[in-house]
Point group: C2
Chain length 354, copies 2
């Protein structure tokens, strides 16, 4: 199997498991139960479950021990999206209405007089809460697939650390940094935010696979730490690439350009440009932020400033080196299909192909 | 020790443990870390931790195995309050500002231009999420105090069921019932809501103590089920008493009277009255709901209708019988201090003394 086939293979198994899972069944009201199932059922690439399975496979765990924890990782990812979408006031997620929008509609149909938008957000808070519990339950049920209780408990503690603390604190930091003057934000703060918001759950995914395969409850185990650093670097490379594409991407592919300027989003690219550019370029760059009239000409001017000061090149170098360092982390491990897919994953995150 | 001394004893131990716990330390921004610690540090009666310790004590577990799970139960209770306070738009909790109000203030101090009320709610969502993870972590760390990993994993799964599903679905049902015409709400729906919102975490508390003492990962263990039913009945008695006091209480003690009428809150008392009263009393009772001008005279009229149709007496009988049934559940277990405190707890919830 090549990378895409291997990814589709994991996705199919995890999709089946999530769709058949009984956890949400007894939730009432029925529209809330439907919302609990909704995001996890929307598919997506299932990269995090694949990381659980491939990391586990690399160290010799059989697939059946990995599937419940893999599904847990995906459901955990999805509850953070539900709460994130409330906080970001987003209306769409993977082409369909966000949870709070769907729930507001359900309220409006049943109670035309009610404050439906606000109640939709209220129910969406509870929807994410229920999914957080569902994710924990899926992980803990790994015991029923033959993982030792001590190992599952170690993985579950690690989920509270990586997913419950680092990831959520990363989201909070993201909210806080977006309120700050971008010129006051340090690269270290952005890296910390990326390590939390993007890196933490990727680390949890590979750590879980490795801990199950190595039969250890300890995420500080030397091998687990190596594969964890691999995932952290992949997350960083992915985010650097994402931020770079937001300014230098091709408008015909991927995400709309210039949004990061319009929202004055403190990316590592922008913050680096503020540190490297000198007056008057620095002042001009600031004048290009938060403008509702951001167009191709203004975007081009921002590109010129970011390029001239060396920020763009510095980011491209860091992006490439980060992806290379990620790949090097795997060199110590035996060559096998799983290792190749992980290498392909590292290449794909940096290239944003997947 | 009498009941109050025993309760104060548990509270002191749990307070110390929560105050010293490192979980929130690495959370950023700092005002979010402070909010994560805030509710759990506000004290309160610590009834849920006491239930863990007394149930565990009844079946012979040493205190040191019970304290981390007891603290987990308290922190879990607190995160549900943080999200509940957002949903209920409450400003005060135990005499101090609610989490979203405190966080809005922190935002306003730092970012005077920002939409602070909304951002306060956003950060409070994340605050509750972090506390949910903290609670899970505290419980899982029970292993470090000598509880078998398999037993802790069983308790952790049970937390997702009782706290993560039944309790949250109970809150959702509470929101939904408050949108409905009270005359359309059935007593069964209210009982289900009470079993979730009030009963589920009380059940988790006693189940956890018993599972640790009996060294079993199975909440369906016969003894665990008995003590669980005890807690469910206590929760029901407490809620019936609370609803009764909201109409028939003494205004000089406890909560303000008439709020349940003003908010047309579908309590078991009100719903029973709607089922028992005949026209025109039924119609008059409906006219007394949702009125901003609810005063002593209107409240008296509601009391008369609820009394005349027999709803008040029916509720008082159910309240008393429920508390008695709870006490009977304990009769099979050996007499000891812990059993006496649990009996006192049952009496206190029905009498709302504590």
């Amino acid at each position: 199997m090549d990378f895409r086939e291997a990814l589709a293979d994991v996705a199919a198994a995890v999709d089946r498991l999530i769709a058949a899972d009984p956890f949400p069944e007894t939730v009432a009201p029925d529209y809330l139960a439907a919302a609990v199932r909704d995001y996890p059922a929307r598919g997506g690439k299932r990269l995090r479950p694949a990381l659980v399975c491939w990391s586990g496979g690399l160290f010799g765990a059989p697939r059946e021990k990995l599937l419940l924890p893999a599904a847990a990782t995906e459901v955990f990812h999805n509850w953070t999206l539900v709460h994130d979408d409330i906080i970001d006031r987003d209306d769409l997620r993977r082409g369909a209405p966000t949870a709070h929008v769907t729930l507001a509609r359900a309220v409006r149909e049943r109670f035309p007089e009610a404050e439906s938008a606000r109640l939709g957000a209220d129910f969406a808070i509870l929807c994410g809460d229920l999914q957080q519990a569902w994710a924990n339950d899926l992980l803990l049920r790994g015991i029923t697939a033959g993982v030792r209780a001590e190992v599952i408990a170690g993985c579950a503690r690690n989920l509270q650390r990586r997913g419950g603390r680092e990831l959520i604190a990363g989201e909070a930091l993201d909210v806080e940094l977006s309120l700050r003057d971008p010129a006051s934000v340090t690269p270290e703060e952005i890296r910390r935010m990326i390590d939390g918001k993007t890196g933490a759950l990727l680390r949890f995914a590979v750590e879980t696979g490795a801990m199950i395969a190595l039969d250890t409850p300890d995420p500080a185990h030397e091998t687990v730490r190596k594969i964890s650093e691999f995932a952290r670097l992949c997350g960083l490379a992915f985010q650097l690439r994402d931020d770079h594409l937001g300014i230098f991407g091709d408008a015909r592919l991927g995400k709309p350009l210039g949004n990061d300027l319009r929202e004055a989003k403190p990316t590592l690219l922008l913050v680096t440009a503020f540190r490297r550019a000198e007056e008057p370029a620095r002042k001009e760059l600031r004048s290009l932020l938060s403008r509702p009239d951001t167009d191709a000409a203004l975007l081009d001017r921002a590109r010129e400033i970011m390029t001239a000061c060396g920020a763009a090149a510095a980011l491209e170098t860091e992006m490439r080196e980060t992806a290379e360092r990620a790949a090097e982390m795997l060199a110590a491990f035996p060559a096998c299909d799983a290792r190749q897919w992980l290498l392909d994953f590292a290449a794909a995150t940096a290239a944003r192909l997947s």
